[in-house]
Subunit: 197 residues, 2 copies
């Protein structure tokens, strides 16, 4: 099938996206072809535009279309707080919470001896720089509650100890969570951190 | 967030694809941004190209990048057989089977009184034309085993009766299927169509 080569190449490319396989890529491409003027052309244009303009913020590692991201550039955000996250996806998740009004620092991963990821491969030196140069009063470690995440949090806490207030996200029962479905560690953490009503 | 407007618009557009929601669209876009030179730009180019060149075959309704699709144009395919399918996805599924060497006719849906889809909205008149002009000896109705699919099959069979041999796909136990997990209708159909070993 020669003239459908582009269509097949497109399906193959789409199938490589996380969360899509060959079957769902075929469905998506067929859907796009059916609505090619309304949906496919705008999506292609948008994707081409983002591919050329997207970059990482030189300051914090967030993804944006400018050298300094909107959050770093915004004057409305509090200067004194930096929330350290592993990943841009975690930053987006924090932003959806609408609770944090400070600035972020995206590490770009976690320390991992096995994968040979040291502090230099992450943005840890840049974080220490920022703590020294931007009048930071608090660093919030919002790293994932995995072994690698917690190792990284400990390392950063070691590096910054004494220079700044260090906090981490509270652990406990999620909103809407049912005790019966929670793991033992979470229940123990929630009990230890209980508060008076 | 002004400068990330394009990124957000891209996530929204991706989230509209079948099989993707807001969360998986965010993951996919973040993955693309990380590999923007290697993956995102080629995908955008390919998508733009397909958006401009993709069209439906004037003869059979298959999707391709030429007015007459590869299957209709190919001299290697048998002229005498037409396999009637609802949808391009069904045509692709048949082609993956590598068993059919004739040509196709894509209806573009099924008859449906509720949705006001009559024979004129599908490619049924064109199918009757083709049977008359293309020396067709057999029409294989490979429509889905749903109520609408079977209604459409009956209608087409009525229209073509006497002019051509009409067949439909066999019904029975799928390869690798377990009797215990099959519905009663399939088991009954497989029993009725039993064959000697």
């Amino acid at each position: 099938m020669n003239s459908t080569r582009d269509i097949e190449a497109l399906i193959d490319a789409m199938a490589k996206l996380p969360g899509l396989g060959p079957r769902s890529a075929r469905r998506a491409v067929l859907h796009l072809i059916r609505k090619r003027a309304l949906l496919m052309q705008p999506l292609a244009d948008l994707m081409g535009q983002v591919a050329t303009t997207a970059r990482e913020c030189l300051n914090c590692g967030n993804v944006g279309t400018t050298d300094i991201c909107d959050i770093c550039a915004s004057e409305k955000r509090a200067n004194g707080q930096i929330c350290v996250v592993e990943d841009v996806a975690d930053l987006w998740a924090m932003e959806r919470g609408h609770a944090f009004k400070g600035r972020y620092h995206v590490l770009g991963g976690t320390l991992s001896a096995l994968d040979q990821v040291g502090p230099e491969q992450l943005r840890i030196p840049r974080l220490i720089d920022r703590v020294e140069t931007e009048q930071v009063t608090e660093v919030i470690l919002a790293l994932n509650a995995t072994v690698d995440g917690q190792t990284t949090a400990h390392y950063i806490a070691d590096q910054l100890e004494g220079r700044v207030t260090l906090t981490s996200l509270a652990q406990g029962v999620p909103i809407g969570g049912e005790l019966d479905y929670l793991d033992d560690g979470t229940i123990a953490a929630a009990l230890n951190a209980r508060k008076s009503i």
